[in-house]
Amino acid sequence: MDIKTISNLAELSQLDFNEEEVEKLSKELDTMVGMMGKIKQSDAKYECSANASSVDLDGLRADEAKPSMPTDELLANAQSADGYFVVPKVME
């Protein structure tokens, strides 16, 4: 896998890699993409309508409002202030 492709994927993935890491990844991902590429030899055809039967999806719950989790509990694992998540400044 070439450096440019890895850089694009890293951007999509919101990950940073240095040059040394990209070089190492290039070899590792080549091997893995080679392994996954075997799938192209299959003659199977995907049928969109066939997928629904694989999972029981008859358990829709009633459309009723229920109590939510308290705000302080939701914020307990985050940096927060005044009942809100804290994020870096995004507007000038």
Partner: protein, 478 residues
């Protein structure tokens, strides 16, 4: 009292007969964990104080005649299942300090039953693999061979640190290490157990199951956690059954299928011989063996990894350093916060999987990889359905080899036998059927029809009754 060889149902009998109190049982397990866990180790977080409080409550319930199947039974839970107020790391730096504000549905069910939680067990980051080589908290050793690393819930049952553990499986991430540790493990049908509160890995494969000493204990465990949950859209409304219902049933006339693809070059001879010897024993019990074929097995490994990596890349997109999880420091912008938090916290394997997932989902690759993998999945499901038209269960090896697997790609290949039933969303139980020359346990898997866990539990139990287990060196075995 030697607690190390006790099965879950033996503890139940002892508690119900008043032979021992729950507090005494829990103290004995805590002492054993104190002695042995340092060398393995199985736990990321121990909850001994909470366990003793739960034990007191359980003793009261038992005295009041209000005990359920799991009241007072000590268990360990894999650390990717949310426990309110108890740290849940999913084996990674990303969630190293995460304390869930809610319980997973299966934890609520265990709490209602009065089960006792001894702690949270080690696993690979987000459940990627079944070796703990990708755990931020180090490797867990297999009690049969310290050079082999395994997951905490499998090693812990094998070492007698707890009689049963709850964990999640994707494509063999629970059943394969359980087999390597000489334990029984069940991955139920997709939809049988709620995954609400399970930290997502690959959502179309993830399924919560258990590890125990034998199939009968697994039936009890499954009975306690199975059933529809309005919080999990994929959980089935199908009524749960008595999973012990077929234990003790005769196997006369039962049709056991051996798909030839599971007995080819991809699998070590020692493993094949042990599983085929088990098949022979089933034949002697009155079962009919039939050879069948699942041609799509040829593509099982790429199918699993393409779909799994695509789902992992989507599931892991939620970790942005803001709502929960690791947050990078000295940040100037939103973009930098997200990137730095993810880059500093995710391990190498998670990063590889995210990149590969985004690769197979990208517009250039989607049709060739992701859509093709979905097509093979459909085809494989159809082939399994065809096979089940002429048999009751399918018998296969659990692992391809009988020794520790080294290297990333080699470890990818090791799921060849375990992934297909997961791809096809079928229930599978593994139990030990032999030992290699190296002393390592060899596991076999029995795959059943969708929602027919009771049959595979019954079939596994029949074999276990006549099988002599060799204990790990840690428990005085060879």
């Amino acid at each position: 009292m030697d607690i190390t060889k006790l099965k879950l149902r033996q503890i139940r009998d002892m508690l119900d007969n008043g032979q021992i109190s729950c507090k005494e049982i829990i103290n004995a397990y805590i002492e054993r964990i104190d002695d042995l866990d340092g060398d393995l180790p199985c736990f990321i977080t121990r909850t001994s104080e909470m366990a003793l409080e739960q034990a007191s409550d359980a003793d009261k319930r038992i005295a009041n005649g209000d005990a359920g199947e799991l009241t007072g039974i000590p268990l360990a839970i894999s650390d990717n299942i949310c426990t309110k107020g108890v740290k849940t790391t999913a084996g990674g730096k990303m969630l190293e300090d995460f304390v869930p504000p809610y319980d997973a549905t299966i934890i609520s069910r265990l709490n209602e039953q009065g089960a006792v939680l001894l702690g949270k067990t080690n696993l690979d980051e987000m459940g990627m693999s079944g070796s703990t080589k990708n755990s931020h908290f180090g490797n867990t050793s297999n009690p049969y061979n310290s050079a082999d690393s395994t997951i905490g819930s499998a090693a812990g049952v094998a070492a007698g640190l707890f009689p049963a553990g709850i964990a999640a499986d994707a494509g063999g991430t629970m059943t394969c290490p359980a087999a390597n540790c000489g334990m029984a493990s069940i991955r139920p049908t997709y939809g049988r157990v709620s995954r609400y509160g399970l930290i997502a890995n690959a959502s179309s494969f993830d399924q919560i199951g258990g590890i125990a000493n034998d199939a009968h204990d697994l039936a009890i465990l499954l009975g306690a956690i199975a059933g529809y949950d309005e919080f999990d859209r994929t959980s089935s409304t199908k009524a749960t059954t008595d999973f012990t219902a077929k234990i003790g049933d005769s196997l006369k006339g039962m049709k056991i299928a051996l798909p030839k693809e599971f007995y080819g070059d991809m699998v070590d001879d020692a493993v094949k011989e042990a599983v085929l010897s088990a098949a022979k024993q089933y034949e002697e019990m009155g079962a009919d063996l039939i050879e069948v074929s699942i041609p799509s097995m040829e593509f099982a490994i790429p199918t699993y990894y393409i779909i799994a990596n695509a789902e992992i890349s989507s599931n892991l997109a939620r970790y942005d350093g803001i709502k929960f999880g690791y947050r990078g420091e000295d940040i100037d912008s939103y973009e930098q916060l997200v990137k730095r938090s993810r880059t500093e916290a995710f391990g190498d394997e998670a990063k590889r999987r995210i990149l590969l997932g985004n690769f197979v989902l990208s517009s250039d690759s989607y049709k060739d990889y992701f859509e093709k993998a979905l097509a093979v999945k459909q085809k494989m499901m159809s082939e399994f359905t065809d096979v089940f038209a002429s048999c009751d269960v399918i018998l296969t090896p659990t692992n391809t080899v009988n020794s520790p697997v080294e290297g990333s790609v080699a470890s990818y290949n090791s799921i060849y036998c375990a992934a297909p039933s997961s791809i096809a969303m079928l229930p599978s139980i593994t139990t030990t059927c032999g030992y290699g020359d190296n002393g390592m346990p060899i596991g076999m898997s029995i795959i059943g029809r969708r929602f027919d866990e009771a049959t595979i539990i019954g079939v596994a139990d029949q074999f276990e009754r006549g099988f002599n287990k060799i204990l790990p060196a840690l428990l005085g075995g060879r």
